[in-house]
């Protein structure tokens, strides 16, 4: 799961790519015709670089995203919910594997990506730097964060890079289970006892600001974003995705008698657009740069897991074998 908070980098000043205009024209007309680009195809350096960055961030978000919910497996209320939560968490880790594979086809090995995550070089979705305080938080995450992820992933699955699209198609099928599972949990609490209702309302209050952050700040209109859109790397604007999310889920939240902690939130009947309090982008920046409630914990947990598993990977290593880039 990942939002539009991708941190696309502006082109590096130093890097001037010599592009063969014939190859570029063939590449761009292929994309314009809706064809997919495959790993062995020619592609501009900038296309490769931005895709690696985006798919890698997406993969990290899946693997880190498994942590806030994962901590609730041992405390899940009841056996069925425990099984379902284990299945969901396993799916998320599986999504990371699929995405790492897709990014690897572009030339960055998986373990190098994991190293960049652990050493703080790569980013992941900001929302996972917040804690799941109660069981109700896991319900809100599984319903609404996954809902946001689906909007983003469905858009991206129509992008131009074949391996990423194929991974996303598999992922989206599993996400629909996550969404249903999350909704079921929220409905159970929202239609339950006053204590349960209070619990889910408080979780929603906690998660609303991160949810509004999820798709990232409004895109700057620049030549850079235009190129990424033309190359079908970026498929929808952050604001459009946020609007779509509000359109689909605010009514579903309201029908449960829950309130959303934003007095300005309403749909403007004339424009058809949602109005809301501008999310606090300073906080977003601060958290994504390391200063959130759980950044330290997430990376420390991930690092510990990596270190604890190291001897197993080493014991099974065959020195003579060379690593091969996956085919597709």
């Amino acid at each position: 799961m990942y939002g539009g908070g991708y941190i696309f980098e502006e082109s590096k000043n130093g890097h001037k790519e010599e592009i063969d205009p014939v190859k570029l024209e063939r590449f761009e007309s292929k994309i314009a015709a809706g064809e997919k680009i495959e790993p062995a195809d020619w592609m501009p350096f900038e296309y490769r670089r931005q895709l690696i960055r985006m798919i890698e961030q997406h993969a990290h978000s899946e693997i880190i995203g498994a942590l806030p919910e994962g901590t609730w497996i041992t405390r899940a209320p009841g056996f069925r919910r425990k099984l379902a939560l284990m299945a969901k968490v396993q799916d998320e880790v599986g999504h990371a594997q699929l995405l790492y594979s897709a990014a690897e086809t572009l030339g960055k090995p998986r373990e190098v990506m994991i190293n960049d995550l652990i050493s703080g070089k790569s980013k992941y979705s900001n929302v996972f730097n917040y804690p799941a305080v109660t069981w109700a938080d896991t319900a809100i995450i599984a319903w609404l964060i996954d809902a946001g992820a689906i909007i983003n992933q469905v858009a991206n699955s129509k992008g131009s890079y074949g391996p990423y699209c194929r991974a996303l198609e598999r992922i989206c099928i599993e996400e629909s289970f996550h969404l249903k599972y999350g909704h079921d949990n929220v409905v159970f609490l929202a239609t339950g006892t006053p204590v349960q209702r209070k619990m889910v309302q408080e979780a929603l209050n906690r998660w609303w600001p991160p949810i509004m952050h999820f798709f990232g700040p409004s895109d700057k209109i620049s030549v850079h974003t235009e190129t990424l859109m033309k190359w079908k790397v970026k498929m929808a604007s952050n604001d459009d995705m946020r609007q779509k999310f509000l359109d689909m889920y605010v009514p579903k939240i309201w029908e449960l008698g829950l309130t959303i902690p934003d007095p300005k939130l309403k749909k403007n009947d004339e424009t058809g657009k949602w109005e809301y309090t501008e999310p606090d982008w300073e906080e977003f920046k601060r958290v994504i740069n390391g200063d959130g409630p759980c950044n330290k914990e997430r990376l420390a947990v991930r690092r510990r897991a990596e270190e604890k598993g190291e001897w197993v990977r080493r014991a099974l290593m065959k020195d003579k074998e060379k690593y091969t880039v996956p085919l597709s």
Partner: protein, 125 residues
């Protein structure tokens, strides 16, 4: 000081409370395998993705977890990526004339018109 988490199991790990930015000491790469999935008996095995594994047996176990957790699957193949020889992208033109080879296809043979003409002529004759 160690990290205090809402999850007691994490607190018990006594993780350091300061961010650690050191890169990993060794970066080990297991090899990659391509996975093929048969969803029902009688169907083709279809390529579904790749994974990392130290050997083919482990690749098969991981393939089951990664690609056959739900829905039907009756059989899986794993093949070491390096054992696959794929045609080159630059050589794409070797397939260019393939759709034009009508003489290889049933639809390239149309005789009814000739037969009918022949029959008509015989009737008249």
């Amino acid at each position: 000081m160690s990290l205090k988490s809402l999850d007691p199991r994490i607190t018990r790990e006594e993780l350091p409370d300061v961010p650690d930015n050191t890169p990993l000491k060794d970066i080990h790469h297991w090899n990659t395998f391509e996975v093929f999935h048969q969803s029902k008996t009688g169907g083709h095995h279809i390529h579904v993705g790749s994974l990392h594994a130290p050997n083919a047996e482990m690749a098969l176990i991981l393939a089951k977890e990664q690609y056959a957790r739900r829905y039907n699957c009756v059989n899986l193949w794993v093949v070491k990526t390096s054992d696959i020889l794929a045609s080159k992208k630059e050589d794409e033109e070797i397939f260019e004339t393939t759709p034009e080879k009508l003489y290889r296809e049933a639809s390239g043979y149309k005789v009814m018109e000739k037969i009918n003409k022949f029959k008509n002529e015989r009737k008249k004759g």
